[in-house]
């Protein structure tokens, strides 16, 4: 296969040298073809080195103690917050809350609103709006909040093409709506959603907007001011960082007004046996010893991505995705679940292959060294919507190559022969 017609590709030969795991060989010498990036990304040596250096040279607890290591650890942890703030163009570093992952970030928003005073409080008269394409992490926290408060949960449905159906937006988002929580990019369909229209509608009725950017932050420029949302959640491990570190960005005046969720060390101002007062945001929402090394690792990941440039990462993935869609069309009986063009589309492509179950597709691909995700991808309502039990998903990143797309296509032909 010649790939000379593809434009916008990064120098993956150079990039891949930074990722030790990508040189692994599996199953008697087959090179690893890692196409499960929507689940988690691989880590460059720069991130691994930052983690090691932190533990070898600077390890201490943060925001306490006057010794050298405590000051260094605090500077590194808070330095990572600065890097995140700059990466997402946050107006203030105090709007960046470190969490464990995107799920915790979204649960934090739901709990802030459940315990809030008016006008933010979600109660039995309130409505919550989500979409049918959310990851379970942006469904279940809202179901819990609705069950506990008596609020009504509503959702946007999907078109046959894998896009949000916005035709009934005026019925969904009303004066009763307190919060609209929507994903920027679907982890299963790959769809990039027109959140600007939803944000404008929500603003017109005084509702807050939370955006799940888990599949967006790793892959393109993320500008929280341009989004005009109230909260933006994402996770570190999908963007070259370690597991155990996530981010919730929130507008400063909201973070000042909204109550804490988890209580403990770090998040207080003063404590008596009767009551406590709280530290200002972001610390108000970071009870307990935070994931310090993981935050430092995320900072290193952001340095790595920023040195390449998120616009260039996006262009690379767009070229790879367009090429993959073109070549997947060659495989008989293959049906893409989600947009069938690379327009407004991320680098995760889900598909079915005739009546061969995705589990079997994934197993035979694995034997050829190709790692894909199979199942319902924590977005079971999407599978129900399209009448399928599960999909196979290939998802790309900045180190993915056209040659890996070719390997996937060859692998899928082999799967068909195996079960044919």
């Amino acid at each position: 296969m010649t790939h000379s017609h593809l434009t916008g590709l990064l120098d993956t030969d150079a990039i891949r040298k930074d990722f030790p795991v990508l040189s692994r060989q599996l199953h008697d010498g087959k090179p690893l073809v890692y196409l499960d990036n929507a689940a988690t990304s691989q880590k460059p040596r720069q991130v691994l080195d930052a983690l090691n250096a932190y533990y070898e040279q600077h390890n201490a607890n943060v925001h306490r103690g006057v010794h050298v290591l405590a000051e260094e650890a605090t500077a590194l942890y808070e330095g990572a917050r600065d890097k995140v703030a700059s990466f997402i163009n946050a107006p203030s570093r105090n709007e960046v809350i470190f969490t464990k992952n995107a799920s915790e970030s979204l649960n934090l928003v739901a709990n802030m609103l459940g315990w809030a005073e008016e006008p933010y409080r979600v109660d039995a008269d309130s409505e919550i709006v989500i979409t049918e394409m959310e990851h379970h992490s942006n469904i279940v926290p809202w179901q819990l909040l609705a069950q506990r408060t008596g609020a009504k949960l509503k959702w946007f449905s999907l078109t046959d093409e894998g896009r949000l159906d916005l035709s009934n937006m005026d019925e969904l988002i009303t004066e009763k709506t307190k919060i609209v929580s929507v994903t920027l990019v679907s982890n299963l369909l790959g769809t990039v959603n027109p959140v600007d229209a939803i944000v404008r509608k929500a603003q017109s009725v005084g509702a807050l907007v939370a955006i799940d950017a888990s599949q967006a932050a790793p892959h393109a420029v993320l500008d929280v001011q341009a989004l005009e949302a109230d909260f933006v959640a994402f996770t570190g491990h999908k963007m070259l960082g370690p597991t155990g570190i996530g981010v919730l960005w929130g507008r400063q005046e909201l973070l000042e007004d909204l109550p804490p969720f988890l209580g403990g060390g770090e998040m207080i101002e003063t404590v008596t046996m009767g009551s406590s007062t709280y530290a200002p945001a972001p610390h108000k929402f970071e009870a307990g010893t935070p994931p310090i090394a993981q935050a430092v690792g995320l900072g290193a990941a952001i340095d790595y991505l920023s040195a390449i440039g998120m616009d260039k990462v996006a262009a690379h993935e767009h070229a790879i995705t367009a090429y993959a869609i073109e070549r997947l069309a060659e495989v008989p009986d293959l049906r893409i679940i989600g947009p069938r063009t690379a327009v407004d589309r991320g680098a995760a492509i889900s598909f079915t292959l005739g009546d061969i179950h995705p589990h079997d597709v994934g197993q035979v691909l694995d034997e050829q060294g190709i790692a894909v995700r199979v199942g319902h991808h924590c977005a079971r309502p999407v599978c129900l919507r399209y009448g399928i039990p599960a999909t196979t998903r290939a998802s790309f990143y900045l180190y993915s190559t056209p040659g890996e797309v070719d390997a996937l296509i060859d692998g899928l032909h082999h799967v068909r022969n195996f079960f044919g």
Partner: protein, 150 residues
Amino acid sequence: MKLDSMYQEIILDHYRNPHGKGLRDGDAEVHHVNPTCGDEITLRVRLDGAVVADVSYDSQGCSISQASASVLNDLVVGKQVGEAQQIQEAFLELMQSRGQSEGDEDLLEDAVAFAGVSKYPARVKCALLSWMAWKDATAKALGGQPPLTD
């Protein structure tokens, strides 16, 4: 090739032509799912005294889970409940053997073909889905009573 140890021809035959598939009358029904991959089975057991008179099922899932349900139907229908339970326990033990057991062919018949699956931790649950459903449905059908013996 290693993959052939999982996808034995016997398994692929059962997958392509499952035995006893479809829901028929039963004394108890259960619905089991594998939440990690979305495989599902609705399974009914009909007992005739101490004998497993029928195991019927409606299922969707991978070749391993579908073939396993077919083999289950072959192995337990017509057997005494106690004997079928012994087979179920032997199959469970085989699947938990991490590739260290070949299985007792006299007892497990076609089911020994699943020995290779036990080397793949992610797929063991696929093979066990219908068997766990059968165990559960049989317990329900017995209503907590031990099976009658002839």
